[in-house]
């Protein structure tokens, strides 16, 4: 693949004013060790633009009260704003109804909700659950817990050397015992974009429902849950320029209605006596207790911000950054890119011959460059490549090519230190 050509092709289609966008992110003005911050850890958490910060401040200074309770002005305002945020999320993923969007504390919480509410009810001994090698620990551990409790089995889709799923092997995993598939949309460790629509369609042909872990996909790919056909879709706000502690679970209404609530408490009931509790309708059935109201409203503001720029525009520009970075990396001897899938999000995992990722991360930090080092909560991926850890640069739409140049210079410095 001619990356330079691809880059030029995409460059024509992107028209983002990056300097104007960067001005929205106050944290990008930080200096680290006297050097301008080069923030390339966006796959772990993205930064928050001023309009989202302002929205949080406005909520907290003029709109805050508990929701779904009192009849006074503030409670009604907060309830309405919280509900508006849900509707923004509904539109963002094109869900059929707003009640199909449940606020959770994040992707991990959303997956655990499905494991507890759907898995514990419908998965029995000897049933099988399909996962992939690319899963984040948050989409492995809950299913292992369930498998141990029920005596169910986990089946894993392998990957090739490029980090792409073996789709033929995936199809062969299905049998009459297969009851659920929980699949990552975009790999956080390698950036691989999986052919999720095709995978969902195949699972449905076999009568198997699918949860999609979209934590890394939602920031980079327009998500249309009706087009995908998925049964569940989960992602977090903090990878979408929103606050931490909030995310959503999308679920088809008929699934959500059939599920047991995961947490009991206030706000999730229709009526309570000491003999019996009747649960509220969805989505409230799954939102026990006072939710992070400010965070949910901030999430809505982040969705507004990203939608105004356009996820398509963001994706095109990030592809341009990825192509440029890939080309630059390939010019540095001793640097190896881990994960070379044809379809990739703007994630570049790499190793440097003879140098431990933690040493790389510390020395890059000296140049103001923030990358992730470690196993990225995806130890099975590390095991597949026989490395304990990698360094990972992940790009957002506010990054610039000159920042990639700083990264490359930093990598050369690392190599010089360890010469």
């Amino acid at each position: 693949m001619n990356l330079a050509e691809a880059t030029r092709g995409i460059a024509v289609s992107t028209s983002l004013d990056i300097e104007k966008i960067r001005a929205d992110f106050p944290i990008l003005d930080l200096k680290i060790d006297g050097k301008p911050l080069v923030y390339l850890d966006n796959a772990a958490s993205s930064q928050m633009p001023q309009p989202v910060i302002d929205r949080l401040v406005r909520y907290q200074t003029t709109q805050h009260a508990n929701i779904n309770r009192a009849v006074h002005y503030l409670s009604e305002t907060a309830t309405m704003e919280y509900q508006k945020a849900r509707c923004k999320l509904q539109q963002f993923i094109n869900a059929r109804e707003d009640r199909e969007v449940i606020f959770t504390s994040g992707t991990t919480d959303a997956i655990n909700l499905v494991m507890q509410g759907y898995g514990r009810k419908f998965i029995q001994a000897d049933d099988e659950i399909i996962l992939t090698t690319l899963e984040h620990h948050s989409n492995i551990v809950p299913w292992q817990m369930l498998a141990q409790e029920k005596g169910a089995k986990i089946r894993v889709v392998p990957i090739n050397d490029a980090g792409e799923l073996d789709i033929e092997a995936y199809k062969k995993l299905f049998n009459e015992r297969t009851k659920f598939a929980s699949l990552i949309h975009v790999s956080n460790a390698l950036g691989t974009i999986n052919p999720i629509k095709e995978m969902i369609a195949y699972a449905h042909q076999q009568g198997v429902p699918v949860l999609v872990d979209g934590a890394q996909a939602a920031p980079h790919i327009p998500i249309d849950v009706q087009d995908l056909g998925c049964d569940f879709y989960a992602f977090s706000a903090h990878k979408l320029c929103g606050p931490t502690g909030i995310g959503i679970l999308y679920g088809k209404a008929q699934h959500l209605e059939s599920m047991q609530p995961f947490k009991g408490g206030g706000d999730m009931i229709a009526s309570v006596t000491f003999e019996k509790t009747t649960y509220a309708a969805i989505p409230h059935k799954f939102e026990a207790g006072t939710p992070p109201i400010a965070a949910a409203i901030g999430f809505g503001a982040a969705i507004d911000y990203l939608s105004a720029i356009g996820i398509d525009q963001i994706a095109a520009y990030e592809n341009e950054l990825l192509a440029y970075a890939t080309e630059q990396f390939n010019c540095v001897p001793g640097v190896n890119i881990i994960g070379t899938a044809t379809h990739k999000a703007a994630v570049l995992s790499f190793t440097i011959d003879g140098i431990h990722p933690h040493d790389i991360g510390t020395i890059l930090n000296h140049d103001g460059v923030a990358v992730r080092t470690g196993h990225h909560c995806a130890q099975p991926v590390m095991q597949r490549y026989n490395v304990p850890a990698t360094s990972r640069a992940s790009f957002a739409f506010y990054n610039k090519k000159t920042e990639i140049d700083t990264l490359i210079t930093g990598i050369k410095t690392v190599q010089k230190v360890f010469l």
């Binding site: 060790d33 909560c377 304990p388 850890a389």
Partner: protein, 161 residues
């Protein structure tokens, strides 16, 4: 905070050419240290005779800070009594976690090249892992050696997913 000052020549040298690297025959004590944060793993074996560390070796997979710390540790404690080694472990921990004023009397000598680690909390564990593991190995003398065969003592730093 000058992070590059951490990678001084003495540390880089011990990383390139680690001392006492390998396995030890007839070890009386050993322990395995593990840092789940980065998958680092360190085996430390030593031979204790009349409470004196006669021989010590280490091997494993780790970052430069951890490897250099292990290498310099082995040269520092070889020939020392168990009590002196334990005292040095305490001093090193206090230095790495910023609890020690280096102007106060101490026995760290060249090990003070690691003092800059106190400004990098995520890397403190890398430098301390060998010392933590040595402590586990030394303590297996009373608690493990008579009861079990060669079940290594686990020393774990970090707690990360």
């Amino acid at each position: 905070m000058q992070t590059n000052s951490l990678y001084q020549e003495v540390i880089l040298d011990h990383n390139r050419k680690p001392r006492n690297y390998g396995t030890l025959e007839h070890a009386s004590h050993h322990a395995v240290g593990h840092n789940p944060l980065c998958g680092d793993r360190l085996d430390i074996a030593l031979q204790l005779e009349h409470d004196l560390i006669n021989a010590i070796s280490f091997h494993g997979e780790s970052c430069a800070i951890c490897k250099a710390s292990a290498s310099m540790m082995t040269t520092a404690v070889k020939g020392k009594t168990r009590v002196d080694a334990e005292a040095l472990i305490d001093e090193f921990r206090d230095m790495a976690t910023g609890k020690m004023d280096l102007n106060d009397p101490h026995h760290l000598g060249r090990l003070t090249v690691f003092s800059g680690i106190r400004d990098l909390p995520t890397r403190v564990k890398c430098a301390i892992l060998p010392w933590h593991t040595l402590h586990a190995a030394l303590n297996s003398m009373t608690s493990v050696s008579t009861e079990t065969d060669d079940e290594p003592t686990q020393a774990i730093t970090g707690n990360h997913t």
